[in-house]
Amino acid sequence: MERLNLSLPLPCLKVNRDGRIVSYSALAEDHFDLSKAHIRSLVDEGSISKLGRISSESGPVPVKMELNMKTKKNPLVLFDVYLQWDTENRATMMFVQKDRSNEELIEKLASIQIRLASTDFELLEKKDELEQVLRRMDELSGPFIPLSDTLCMIPLFGDITADKINAISDSCLQSVFRGNYEAILFDLTAVGEVHADGIDKFIMLVKTLNFMTGNVIKLIGIKPNLAKELNHHHLDHWVQFNHSLKEELSTYLHH
C-alpha cells in the first residue's frame, strides 16, 4: 500500500479486484482507518454487496453510487462514491461526503413528524383526564345516604346513563350489604333525561339489591317520562312506586 503523490481535493483510493487497497491519497488517510488495507473494512456491511455488484458490473466508464462508509469520526456516513476501472485492473475510487444541507432538511422533516406524534399524545392525555373527571362526576351523582339503621336512600342526579349506573353500582351494593336496612329508597326527583341502556342497568341494579337483601326497593319522585320507561319492565312485584319522601320518612323513622 503506497501513498499517492498527487495532491487531490478528495479522499481517493486505488483498489485491486480482490478489494485490497493498493494506494491512497492524503485525505483518504485523514478520513478513513486504513490499517486493514482492505476496502471491506471501510464499508458498512449493508453496503458491501452493493459495492461488490456495482463495481463488478462496471468497466472503464465511471460509475457513481451511494455507500455508507465507516470514517474515523463516525461509524456510518453516507458518501457518493465514484469508481472507474483502469487497464491494470485497478479501480480508482473517489469519495464525496453527502451534502449536509440534505441532512438539515431531513432533520426538520423528522422534527415535524415527532411534533405531530406528540400532539397526538397530548390529546390522548387530555382525553384520559376528561374520562376520569366524567367518571368521578358519575360517582358523585348517586351518593349513598343512610337515613337511619333501617332506612337508606340513594338520590340520583342528572341523566340516567349506563356509565353512570355502572359508576355508582359498586359502592351502592357494598354500602347496602354492610348495613342492615329494611328499605332502600331511590329518589329520582332530580333525574333528567333517561337513556335506554341506562334504564336497563338501573333495573339490573335494583333487581340485584332486591335479590340479595330480600327487601322491597322503593322508587320515589318518578316523573312521567321515567314512568313510561319503567312501565315496560313490569317491576310491580318487587318495587314500590311513588310514595313521597315524606311518607316514607314517617313510616320508617317513627316506629
Binding site: E45, E66, L78, Q113
Partner: protein
C-alpha cells in the same frame, strides 16, 4: 409489475393518493395482511432498488414519509374496544427505522390494546421513566441497524428490572436475520415478523406462557380475517 413494485413506485413518487389507491386495489382484506404482505415488502423492495443503484437515500426519505402517512391513515379510527392491556413501543436511541414499529403498534390497537407509540429514537432514561409512570403490560422494541445492537442489552436489562415485570418484545429487521438472543435478556421475546407477533398477542390473551422464536410457532390463522 407486481403489486409490491407498484406500491413501491407510488411511495417513491411521494404521491400519497396514488399509494392509497394502490392499497385499496390490493385484494388482501385485513390491515395486518396489508402491512405484512404489501407495505413491508414494498419498503424492502425500495431497499433493493437502492442496492441496485437505482435510487438514493433522499428518495428513501420521501418514500418513508409517504408510507408513514399511509400508515397513519390506515390505522386511524380503529374502534375503541375494552382494553386488552397496555403496550408501549419504541426504537433504541439513534434508531430511525420506525415504520415496522408503527405497524406493530397499529396491530396491537386492532386487538384492543391501549398503546403508546414513541416512534424513532427514544433514550433509555425517558423510556424507563414512562414505563414506571404508565405501567405497561408490554414494552415493544425495534432495532434495524447492526450498529445499534450493543445498546440492546442495556434496554432489555432496564426493562426486566421494572417492578411490574412487563413482557419485553423485540422485533425489527435484524430479528429476522440474526439470532439476537446474545444481545438481550433471557426473558426477552423475539418476534421475527407480524404473523409471529399476532400469534403472540393471541396467546397472551389466553394467558399462555410464551418464549418467542425459541419454539416453533404455528402459522397464524389471523391473516385471513
Amino acid at each position: 409489475m407486481t403489486h409490491i413494485e407498484m406500491l413501491a413506485s407510488c411511495l417513491l413518487e411521494g404521491d400519497p393518493d396514488k399509494a392509497w389507491a394502490c392499497i385499496e386495489k390490493y385484494s388482501g382484506s385485513s390491515k395486518p395482511d396489508v402491512y405484512h404482505n404489501l407495505m413491508t415488502p414494498a419498503m424492502r423492495h425500495i431497499g433493493h432498488l437502492w442496492e441496485s443503484n437505482e435510487i438514493t437515500v433522499a428518495d428513501e426519505h420521501l418514500a418513508t414519509a409517504t408510507c408513514d402517512f399511509i400508515l397513519s391513515k390506515l390505522s386511524f379510527g380503529s374502534e375503541k374496544k375494552p382494553s386488552a392491556g397496555r403496550a408501549m413501543f419504541l426504537c433504541l436511541d439513534g434508531e430511525q427505522h420506525y415504520l415496522g414499529l408503527k405497524m406493530v403498534d397499529s396491530l396491537f390497537r386492532e386487538h384492543g390494546w391501549d398503546t403508546r407509540y414513541f416512534g424513532p429514537s427514544l433514550p433509555l432514561e425517558y423510556a424507563v421513566q414512562t414505563a414506571e409512570a404508565w405501567k405497561p403490560d408490554v414494552i415493544g422494541l425495534s432495532v434495524s441497524m447492526v450498529y445499534h445492537l450493543p445498546q440492546l442489552r442495556e434496554y432489555a436489562e432496564a426493562f426486566s428490572r421494572l417492578p411490574e415485570k412487563p413482557a419485553v418484545l423485540l422485533g425489527g429487521r435484524l430479528a429476522d436475520l440474526y439470532d439476537l438472543r446474545p444481545y438481550c435478556t433471557g426473558d426477552t421475546v423475539i418476534l421475527r415478523d407480524l404473523p409471529e407477533t399476532e400469534t403472540w398477542i393471541r396467546h397472551h390473551v389466553m394467558g399462555g406462557q410464551q418464549s418467542g422464536t425459541t419454539e416453533p410457532i404455528p402459522s397464524s390463522p389471523v391473516f385471513e380475517s
